[in-house]
Every structure is written in C-alpha cells, then in structure tokens.
C-alpha cells in the first residue's frame, strides 16, 4: 500500500526583484512512490529541492504543476485533514511554544488534534518514557538544550500517532550521542508502530542508520533511487585495504592498486575492483610480502553519495 505518490511534481519560485525578477525551478518533474512502513532517505546537496518537496508533500506549498498524494489525500487541498495523519519535524524550525513546558505544549496539541484527554495523558507519559524525557517534560521549553528540545519536538510530532513522519534535517546541530539516540527513536517508531519515515539529512550516518531506501535529488530532479545496501554495492568500484607489514616493504606496486597513505609498516591501499579483484591483490600481497595484518573495508557511504551528487557514477 502506498503512503506517498508523486507524478511529475514541480515547483517554481519567483526570485529577485524588479528587473532581476526571474522564475527559479526548485523541483522539476519528480516522480516516485513510497510504500507504507518504508524508511526513505531523501537526500541531495544544498538547494537541491529537498525541503521544497517536503513542503509540497505536507501541503504547505502548492506545486506549480504535477500531482501528489499522501495517504490518499492531496496535500495542498486537504492540508488540515492530512495534518491529522502525518507528523512533520523541521530541524531548523521549532514547533514548540517556548514559554510553555513540553507537557503544556502536548496538552495544547492534543486539543488541536482532538485527542481524548485520557488518551493524550497516557500517550504523553508513554512518549516521555520512550524518548527518555520524563525529567524534561515539565521544564519550560526555553530552558532545554538543543538535544533535549529535539526529543521533545519528536514527542510533539508523534503525539497524535502519525502514519507518515516527515523529518527535515532533524539531527542538525545535535551532538553524536543525541544524534544516535534520535535515530534509534525514529527506527523504533517505525518498527513498533509501522510509521512510514521520510527523512532528509546531510548526515550520512542518519541515512545509514535510519533509511532502508535512498532517493537522491539534485537541481530539482531525482537522479538516483535504490535500496541503501544495493546503492553501496552497485556503486562501489573500490575497496579500501589497511595492510600492516612485518617490516617496511619499500615500494608496493600492484596493478589497479593505489597507495593512499603509508607510515613505516602500515599502508593504506585503494583497489580499483574494475581492474583487479580484491582476491588477486590479497594473493599478491601474501605471496610477495611478510604480512602481519590486513583489513578490507568498503569506502564510506559519504564518498558514494558525493560521487552521485557529482554525477561520477
């Protein structure tokens, strides 16, 4: 069953003033579908059209042309109806009332979403526990740190039990532990409640830990769409080898292999798997050198993604 469907969705903005006034195409003819329960990373460089896409899918922006449905509703004509069934979190825009405590905010949101008072109280307590925010919920929002606030933002986003969760750069500005915690919470919501996740982020770790599918957008157009694992496998044309020799080997010269760094007995090698297999390189090394240790790893996902952005794949 589809959670999101778009067909040739496009959005133009007017930029500049007076004589410099011109139309800018932020999103151009994007077509894709998202199944219910999927965790999709919608990524791209700055200005690619990610946030504009989310704003159209949540009904904030009206498209210039094209079609879209979210949970069977047209977002920009059925915005309020859709708002009851989705949750949206913008990492750079707070939806909390800074003068209120999180509990008061959730109480007010429960009224806005017309939740039963008892259900809302139960759900508030549940979320406070799930998000490890029981000690934060009665503090004024203005006194919370960014990491604490983002946990409360997530509570506010999922209070009404949304079927689709739109997360626009939700981990921006968070420290490593807060980011990790946030990702775990999102995955947990997806696994326990079947919530569809639509995530945009510049943080590759968000994509690796949260998403099972990735759509890459650049210059307003979708340029890649595949499972995260498959993307890594199909686009990897190199392997990284970290070799520790028993004694300094001198020059390491193997066809299809490049030395990236060397320090005494430890060498970093990049294997171009189009020219030579990893097995052949390992055989060569073991036959010709005294090896103390070897590790073989994939290049970081970041590298794969930057290659997609630059159109080198």
């Amino acid at each position: 069953m589809l959670a999101i469907s778009t067909t040739e969705l496009s959005k133009e903005f007017t930029a500049g003033r007076g004589r410099d006034r011109r139309r800018v195409e932020a999103v151009r003819d994007i077509t894709f579908t998202v199944e219910r329960g999927e965790r999709l990373a919608y990524i791209g460089p700055n200005g690619a059209g990610k946030s504009t896409s989310i704003k159209m899918l949540t009904g904030i922006l009206h498209p210039t042309r094209g079609e879209a449905t979210v949970l069977g509703l047209v977002p920009w004509t059925q915005r309020r109806e859709l708002a009851r069934r989705i949750g949206t979190l913008f990492g750079q825009r707070s939806q909390l009332w800074f003068e209120l405590t999180t509990r008061q905010t959730l109480h007010l949101l429960a009224r806005i979403y017309r939740l039963d008072a008892g259900d809302a109280r139960r759900r508030t307590d549940e979320l406070a526990q799930l998000l490890d925010a029981t000690d934060l919920i009665d503090q004024p929002v203005r006194s919370l740190s960014l990491g604490q606030r983002m946990r409360c933002e997530l509570a506010a986003t999922v209070l009404h039990g949304p079927e689709v969760l739109f997360l626009d750069e939700p981990t921006i500005g968070l420290d490593l532990i807060a980011k990790q915690r946030f990702r775990e919470m999102v995955v947990r919501l997806n696994e326990e409640r079947g919530t569809t996740v639509f995530l945009t982020s510049h943080d590759v770790a968000d994509i690796e830990h949260v998403a099972d599918r990735v759509v890459v957008i650049n210059h307003g157009t979708i340029i890649y769409d595949d499972q995260v694992g498959r993307m890594r496998r199909s686009l990897l044309q190199t392997k990284l080898l970290e070799v520790r020799f028993e004694e300094a080997p001198g020059a390491v010269e193997i066809d299809g292999v490049q030395v990236t760094h060397e320090s005494d007995t430890v060498y970093g090698l990049v294997v171009d798997t189009r020219r030579v297999s990893v097995r052949e390189v390992l055989d060569d090394l073991l036959d010709n050198y005294a090896i103390a240790d070897i590790s073989v790893v994939d290049p970081p996902l970041e590298q794969v993604i930057s290659e997609i952005y630059e159109g080198r794949t």
């Binding site: 903005f13 007017t14 932020a26 200005g47 990610k50 946030s51 504009t52 704003k55 949540t58 009904g59 904030i60 922006l61 009206h62 915005r79 309020r80 109806e81 708002a83 009851r84 949206t88 913008f90 990492g91 750079q92 825009r93 707070s94 939806q95 009332w97 003068e99 209120l100 008061q104 109480h107 007010l108 949101l109 009224r111 806005i112 979403y113 017309r114 626009d168 750069e169």
Partner: protein, 258 residues
C-alpha cells in the same frame, strides 16, 4: 473550539507568570494617564470647563478607557506576525489541523485580556483618585463588554494588516500605518468629537473607532448601547477579513529552503 479555549487559557496563564513584563506595561500606562490627567484638566479649565461636551471628569475616564483598551494588545504585533510570515516560521503552524490565524488570535486574546484587566484596574484607581467615580454606572457596565470587543477588533485588524506580509514580505510599513490610524482615527489620542466634523464622521465610520473610541465613549458617561452593536459588527467583519487574508496568503506562501 476546545483548542482555541485551551490556547486562550494557556496564554493568559503564561502572561500572569511574567509579572515583570506586565508591571512595565501597566506602569507605562499609569504614567501616560497621569500626564493626560494633568493635560486635559488644564485644557478643559482653559476652555470654560468642557471641550466638545466632555468635562475634565468624563475626559479622564475616556482617556483611561481608550488607552487601556489599546495598550492591552502587543505594540509591535503586526511586525512580529509579518516576520513570522516572511521568514517562513509560520510553516510549523500550517502543519497543524487548525486555523493558523484562529490559534494566533486565541493566544493573543489570552494575553491581552490579562493586560486589559491589569491596566484598567490600575487606571481606574488613578482616575478615581484624580476626578472621582465614573460618570455613569450604566456607561461603565456597557464599557466592560465594549473593552473586550475593542481588544477583539484590534487583534483581528492587526492580523488582517499583518497578512500583507504574504504579498509584501515585510509588514513594518503596514505596522507604522496601522499604529497611526488607531492613534488618530481610533480616538486613542483624543475623542473623535475633537476632530473637525467631517473627519470625525469619517473616523466614526471606520473600524478603528471600535478599538478605542467606542469603549472610551461609554466609560466617559455616554450611555450609547448601539456602540456595542457597531463593535460586534466590526468584529465579525474583521475576523472574516483576517481569516480571508490568511487563507489567501497561505495559498501563495513561498518559503525556500529548510
């Protein structure tokens, strides 16, 4: 409806929890009242005891009511709303299954009612001490709902004016214009009867009169219940206008980037 009531209630509680801000505003209002009391007392005395039918006694109650009704709303609200629109901060409000302008009005109403009560309580005591009790008990009874209607009209009109930011992307000039209109044509600075006849008639026909002149006229002892009907009509019209402006504006909102 329950969300709007909750919003009013929370906003009122929030304002009460910030006594410092409330105290500054009430003090400012009290200072203005003292200055105007001295000014209008001298002016009426110099004019043979009354100006355009207002004695010093009724004039001071007029000033207390007019200033108190207007000062209850935030001074730079139009600018703030305009900034929220042009910066895109409003998008988080558009994600809720409720009227953006409705929730905003409810929050502002909750805050304004607390300020209105605090200001008028202090203002009433000052004026009472200065010139004695209100000129008419019936007038004061009518003033109570009129002051609430005045605040409602003012809030709705400010939201309607601020909605210009959806098109202009900046509401600072709108705020400047609005402030001057309420000040002069709303009867905040002086009763509209003090203006030249033609201008006074025009001013009375405008919505700004519902925000200061109407409650102040009643508080100054002129028992004219029809003023409440005029205010109620303006409130409905201004609410419809604010709602319409926001609905149209939300449709053409352009927010680029995160």
């Amino acid at each position: 409806m329950s969300a709007l009531v909750a919003q009013v209630h929370l906003a009122a509680r929030r304002t009460l929890r910030q006594p410092g801000e409330l105290a500054v505003r009430v003090t400012f209002y009290a200072v203005i009242l003292v200055i105007f009391s001295a000014l209008w007392s001298a002016a009426t005395k110099a004019n043979g005891g009354s100006i355009a039918g207002y004695t010093a006694h009724s004039l001071l109650w007029y000033v207390a009511a007019a200033e108190g009704s207007v000062i209850a709303t935030k001074p730079r609200m139009i600018e703030t709303i305009g900034w929220d629109i042009s910066s895109g901060a409003i998008v988080t409000e558009m994600l809720r299954p409720a009227s953006v302008v409705g929730l905003r009005l409810a929050a502002e109403l909750g805050e304004a009612v607390v300020r209105l009560v605090a200001s008028l309580a202090v203002g009433g005591v000052i004026v009472w001490l200065y010139v004695g009790p209100p000129p008419s008990a019936a007038g004061i009874a009518l003033f109570v709902p009129a002051s609430l209607l005045a605040v409602g009209c003012n809030l709705a009109a400010q939201h309607a004016f601020a909605g210009a930011a959806f098109w202009l992307r900046d509401a600072r000039s709108t705020w400047f214009l609005y402030q001057k209109l309420v000040f002069l044509l709303g009867g905040m600075l002086l009763p509209l009867e003090f203006l030249p006849t033609g201008l006074a008639d025009v001013a009375k026909a405008l919505p700004f009169a519902a925000m200061a002149y109407a409650p102040a006229r009643l508080a100054s002892g002129h028992v004219e219940p029809w003023l409440l009907l005029v205010q109620a009509a303006w409130l409905v019209a201004l609410l419809a206008c604010a709602g319409g402006v926001f609905r149209a504006g939300e449709r053409r909102l352009e927010v680029v980037g995160g």
